[in-house]
Symmetry: C2
Subunit: 469 residues, 2 copies
């Protein structure tokens, strides 16, 4: 044996050991991954053939309907969620109290103007939390602006006594529709206070939408008293109506629009988060939670926003029970109250968790619609992102393997601040803002398999977190 051969021999010996280690590692890993892979397949078999989430959502949309915080429907939804969670196999269901705002729309809004003797009716919906116009309505000239900067340049001289029309389009070039929403939504949220600062009497907002139809999109607004102490009415108008108004306004700057809004804010009322729990076998005071919000806007049925998230969360309990999975940690499905106009439920949950010293391993929110799944946005807190990323191959067969850094949701944002690793379930975003906050957010827009596949991804992720995180 020459030196070279000897070295080669040594190298081979070394490599054999290394190889053996690698093989053992890979085999061990493969065995674990293989067992997990089989378990995920069982979970998905359940979700795609036995799950109740579609039927549950049908009930919530059709028997309860739109359920804004403080409404009788929101109260019915609380009772429904309790029943559905017990039916899913929860060991306990907790009604967690929280005081919620009670905004009511009243009679249908009106927005109209006259062109050549003909009344033009504008498709419209009051923004949540807006004050009304009083029963006699208000009439004023309209000033179109495309940004806060433009509004500021025009200043009080131009704005005073007018209705400011925020004519801001969704940027269609963004691939993720949420990005367009993020850019436009400030005009809905703070537009009234900015306009009031310069003496406007009301605001109109072009609907936040991906689609050029005439459905008006509501959503919450806030009166920011640091900007202006005056509260003026705020109304969303349909995309086509906005185009028409603009056309008519360009022909006649003196055009006056009449608004009539009967909405008002009543005193806060008592409501509840609904928490369904499977008790952990090893660490019952450590929690992994998945949640959506139970409240919705009043104009639709709250199907995608966020009945879908609620029924997907409840289905995790049902899947674990059906498959005899006994989690080490306690698993909770949380139906949060008041996401749309106050976050009272999310705040109450985080406060109670802190007071009781509950340890939250991870919190997932599903509030982006019941569309075909894409993946998860995951917090880097406590190594959760890396852990989930290591499971990516397990999710690939189910088309939910897009794992990105950072994620969560409004309801769990208080937990996030408290250091809980958060996850946002991310379905495909293309159809969401077609119907978001409109009368078209109804059960018929839900595809059963898409809803179930999303639910399956959430169930599978919670299973892996419970087992390995």
């Amino acid at each position: 044996m020459n030196t070279y051969s000897h070295k080669l021999g040594a190298a081979l010996t070394f490599n054999k050991q290394l190889l053996l280690s690698i093989i053992l590692l890979v085999v061990g890993f493969s065995k674990a991954q293989n067992a997990d892979s089989l378990q995920l397949r069982k979970l998905y078999d359940y979700y795609l053939s036995q799950s109740k989430c579609y039927g549950n959502l049908q009930h919530l949309c059709k028997k309860v309907g739109g359920r804004i915080s403080g409404s009788p429907q929101a109260g019915q939804a609380v009772q429904w969620a309790k029943t559905a969670m017990y039916a899913a196999g929860a060991d306990t269901v907790i009604l967690q109290p929280c005081m919620v705002p009670h905004w009511v729309r009243g009679k249908k809004e009106k927005c109209q103007y006259e062109v050549g003797g003909k009344i033009m009716s504008v498709s419209c919906v009051a923004l949540g939390s807006s004050v009304g116009t009083g029963p006699k309505g208000l009439k004023a000239k309209v000033l179109e602006v495309k940004s806060f900067e433009e509004l500021e340049r025009l200043s009080e001289k131009e704005v005073k006594g007018k209705i400011v029309f925020y004519n801001v389009f969704f940027e269609q070039k963004h691939v993720r529709t949420g990005q367009a929403y993020g850019e436009a939504v400030k005009y809905r949220g703070r537009g009234a206070s900015y306009a009031a600062k310069y003496g406007a009497v009301a605001v109109l907002v072009r609907s936040m939408t991906s689609v050029a139809d005439d459905e008006p999109h509501t959503g919450n607004m806030n009166y920011d008293t640091s900007i202006s102490k005056t509260k003026i009415p705020a109304l969303a108008i349909g995309y086509i109506s906005a185009d028409n108004l603009l056309r008519d306004l360009n022909q006649n700057k003196q055009l006056e629009v009449y608004l009539e809004m009967h909405c008002e804010t009543l005193p806060d009322v008592l409501s509840y988060n609904v928490i369904g729990q499977i008790n952990g076998t090893e660490k019952p005071n450590e929690f992994i939670i998945t949640g959506g919000h139970l409240d919705s806007w009043d104009n639709g049925e709250g199907a995608h926003d966020d009945g879908a998230g609620v029924v997907q969360s409840i289905e995790v309990l049902a899947a674990f029970k059906a498959l005899g999975i006994k989690p080490k940690h306690s698993i909770r499905a949380v139906a949060f109250m008041n996401e749309e106009n106050g976050l009272a439920g999310g705040k109450a949950y985080a406060k109670a968790a802190k007071e009781k010293g509950e340890i939250h391993l991870a919190a997932l929110e599903t509030d982006a619609g019941g569309y075909t799944p894409r993946g998860f946005g995951v917090d880097t807190t406590n190594g959760l992102y890396k852990k989930v990323l290591s499971w990516k191959p397990l999710f690939t067969p189910y088309y939910v393997d897009r794992i990105s850094e950072g994620g969560g949701g409004a309801d769990i944002s208080e937990l996030d601040k408290a250091g809980v690793p958060c996850i946002g379930f991310e379905p495909d975003t293309q159809r969401y803002f077609d119907i978001h906050h409109t009368a078209e957010d109804t059960f018929d827009k839900i595809n059963k398999r898409e809803l179930e596949l999303g639910a399956g991804g959430i169930g599978a992720l919670l299973y892996l977190i419970d087992r390995y995180y």
Copy 2:
């Protein structure tokens, strides 16, 4: 300097060179990738804000409508495609002749039976290529089977003189709906011949569907004379109607079903593929093609199947023109004729390509609906799969980065056999078989952004193939 240090020094020197090479390589690669990344962004900006594919599809669906091979509508579609391709900026548009089958449905089908004196009407649609019943219809007892094996076990004694009802469900547990379709479709395709072999007088087929509604799904069938020389009528029935029939049949095995089908096959007629071409600047006789099929079933509007694929293909021409992209190779958008019941167009295209000695670098087919994109299935032929896989990071921002081995489509299957590397565009599959081959495959089921994002992925891939493959 000791030996070790010397070796280390040499290693460092070597490594410095290696490092430099790697840096140059990475920088070079990054520059190329960065330039491509910017070009893809420009393409998507075009697709999401200026493309005409949605408007084109609206025209095809609403002004032309359902367009089965040989119909006047198919002829109108040929003229429309020619015009649309020139409008998109094609240098040439070729009408490529092919003889196509001419099957006509005639008067609406009937399927009914009596229960307790009440007429039960079955939601139904004749399968493409089926013979009719004659004007007087036919009436017979019904035999439900769940597989060909069951049919064979029952044999002629049980089957003779009866209507065989193939009661085969879509397997909902498959994540990809196409897999369920692949398993069930043989009963539609060869079910009549198998049943005729044992003396059946007609067949009913449970619709191939992901959704439990009552829309009947048509699709082609074939009379396989190697199985039976007798041609018997074949009819698809809705999912709910199939359930009802089964219930009633289980209560009364003597139940007789009446069928009336007026369909017939007329002599073949002349039709055309429509080929829009941008001439290559360097290698004009080398082609990269993208295609969909222009014909559709007659009962719907052929929106997802496959108007979507046609307009997405045409949009590649428009995008290249709009952005001033001058391809090295000739780019073709092909609107194939007769995919649904004969593949005459696909065969004619491959035959002509061979005769003219046209070199096809790659052929892409988009015939899986205009849904939100997932990725591409790519042939391993001539290293295409590896090449496309290397571009995966470029596709990630556009959610079309699922690159799998093997792919193509029916229209390009003849090119595939001739050794052309083939690609299948793969949108999300969940909603496709809800409306596939039904009266519900209409324009309103198309989401503009989903259609455009799919088109963008196809345009981007053809751009990269032209540049680097």
